[in-house]
């Protein structure tokens, strides 16, 4: 128990320097853009007074470290500035858009785990037999399909050819649950399939390693049913590496969701990021980067903190 608390504390402490560096990187990334931000935002025709006013608003007339500290102070208070294109508070914009992405990503990852874990276990159990081969080939093929292409093919098949599902657009769940569901079916199915591949392969590989261990032979020799051996003895140990993978998968999705949201024209966080890049809306770009990185750090923190649940040995390290 004591080592568990120490583990959690150590893990929490380690995120602090990472988060600070993330903040520094996000801040300077935008400052590295060639040219005067005020000029870039207002265009070549802007008057001198407008430029000066904007520079003052962005704090551009102070030194870089001073600008950073002001910015960091605001960020810590939840003030990420205002969108240059539409004047909305960035924090609000991020939260609105994030809800949309989060629903899709979390549903897809949950579904992918629910399918991948039994499938991987089954393949490992039937190792080198026809079932195993089928699962491995399918999972490998799924891993090689880019999400935006699979999404496009779904759009073509179920949206245009068969006409079963609406092609473009999005309705919030709060407005019309049924319609919202129809819009998210294809994006969720696409993500689920794409992520299923890697998770199934991971699960199968670790289950095979566990199945070889002596304690499994011992459990079988004790006369336990095969079902009990697999569920109680193999599954928990084999799941641990897959669990770590989930953190990485979620992170990959946070970065990769933009392409999927573009295919299905979903107003999510990824789309916001891409739009803000095209519009050179620097406060929003900064906000998206910072927000996503922080979410990613938190997700990995949660994954790591839950890890001892599956593998108690980890706290000893």
């Amino acid at each position: 128990m004591k080592s568990l608390i120490a583990y959690i504390f150590r893990r929490l402490l380690w995120t602090l320097p990472t988060l600070l560096l993330v903040a520094i990187m996000v801040f300077f990334l935008v400052r590295l853009v060639p040219g005067d931000p005020a000029q870039l935002i207002l265009g070549d025709q802007a008057s001198v007074e407008d430029l000066a006013a904007l520079r003052a608003r962005l704090g551009l007339d102070h030194s870089i470290p001073a600008q950073f500290l002001t910015w960091l102070g605001d960020v810590l208070q939840g003030d990420l500035g205002y969108s240059i294109t539409n004047g909305q508070p960035v924090a609000q914009l991020l939260l609105d858009r994030f809800q949309v992405s989060a629903v899709i990503v979390l549903t897809a990852v949950t579904l992918a785990i629910l399918i991948a874990v039994p499938l991987g276990m089954l393949a490992a159990w039937k190792q080198n037999r026809a079932t195993d081969l089928t699962v491995v080939v399918l999972a490998t093929l799924l891993m090689s399909v880019p999400s935006f292409w699979l999404g496009l093919m779904f759009l073509l098949t179920f949206g245009l050819t068969l006409g079963w599902l609406p092609v473009v657009g999005f309705v919030p769940f709060s407005t019309d649950f049924g319609a919202a569901l129809a819009y998210v079916v294809m994006p969720v199915a696409t993500l689920t399939l794409v992520e299923m591949g890697v998770l199934t392969r991971m699960m199968r590989a670790s289950a095979i390693e566990v199945l070889r261990l002596e304690y499994v032979t011992h459990a079988r020799a004790k006369g336990l049913s095969e079902r009990r051996v697999l569920l109680r003895h193999v599954l928990p140990n084999a799941f641990a590496p897959t669990w770590t993978m989930i953190g990485l998968v979620l992170g990959g999705l946070l970065g990769g969701i933009a392409v999927l949201e573009t295919v299905f024209t979903i107003p999510g966080l990824g789309r916001l990021m891409v739009e803000s890049i095209f519009q050179r809306d620097y406060p929003v770009i900064q906000g998206c980067l910072l927000f996503t990185a922080v979410i990613y750090v938190i997700v990995n923190l949660i994954v790591d903190l839950c890890y001892p649940l599956f593998d108690p040995r980890v706290t000893a390290r």
Binding site: L19, L21, M25, V33, T140, L152
Partner: protein, 270 residues
């Protein structure tokens, strides 16, 4: 045995793509950039084997030219990440101390951005062009290589043959180059292979978003992006670039599996 088969299928797939890319540097059936407004949206078959796009450009020629783009970007990016990741990883693992700690904090922060997101961010600074993409993705992937090399070096550092090399009077440099580095080659190769796939995927994703290689230069990603707008009347525009990306990724995955089996016999059947 299975590893060998994986390796062969993977290598064959990649060879086909490579031949496509190399051929495109000297010859394509049509000029991939030539517009022909009388030949818009021609379906596959006839003179244009894989059809034409919304400007009457030959799809096969554009796919071939796209292969050159994708493979060049991937090769340079993986080269960048491997070179810097290996150098920094060697120093970090071998020298240790403050340098190691600083590099670890930096690589943690870089890794705190999901891969493509960091590349997106860096493209804001560098603008969408080939050099920008190589640099952006290269920086995003360097920490992964650094960590693998560092880990290998740290586990090697305590081994007898490294100590022996010191005892017989070899300098640190000689030990590093002659004894440490060769032992890192297996993990580096395996990671570089996977990385090649990540870059192909990331580059096509960025191009799909309109943030990658700028048009009219064809890439598989930006071909899919325009295909999306015409998918109702020209299905083939959406199918072939996707097949190219998938074939490349599949090749990379199988090659990687094959390599892993070869270098690490313990996981032969997994």
């Amino acid at each position: 045995m299975k590893g060998r088969l994986n390796f062969l299928i993977g290598a064959a797939l990649l060879l086909v793509i490579l031949v496509m890319a190399l051929t495109a540097t000297v010859w394509t059936p049509f000029d991939p950039l030539a517009l022909d407004l009388r030949a818009r949206f021609l379906p596959p078959g006839g003179a244009h084997l894989l059809g034409t796009d919304e400007f009457g450009r030959d799809v096969l020629s554009r796919l071939m030219s796209g292969a050159t783009q994708s493979l060049t970007v991937a090769a340079f990016t993986v080269g960048f990440a491997t070179l810097f990741g290996t150098l920094l990883g060697l120093f970090s693992g071998y020298v240790g101390g403050t340098l190691d700690r600083i590099l670890m904090v930096i690589s943690d922060a870089v890794l705190a951005f999901p891969g493509t997101l960091l590349a997106l961010a860096l493209l804001v600074v560098m603008g969408p062009n080939v050099y920008g993409i190589v640099l952006a993705l290269g920086i995003a992937y360097t920490p992964s290589m650094l960590r693998i090399v560092r880990g290998t070096v740290m586990s090697l550092r305590e081994r007898e043959f490294i100590e022996a090399s010191h005892v017989i009077g070899n300098s640190e440099w000689a030990t590093m180059l002659r004894h440490v580095l060769p032992n890192c080659i297996a993990p580096i190769t395996v990671l570089a292979t996977s990385m090649f796939g990540w870059v192909i995927l990331a580059e096509s994703g960025l191009s799909f978003l309109g943030l990658g290689v700028p048009p009219p230069q064809p890439t598989w990603g930006n071909m899919l992006s325009t295909a999306r707008d015409h998918i109702d009347r020209a299905v083939w525009l959406g199918i072939f670039p996707g097949l190219c990306i998938s074939a490349t990724l599949l090749g990379v995955i199988l090659l990687g599996d094959g390599l892993r089996d070869r270098f690490d016999p313990r996981t032969e059947n997994t």
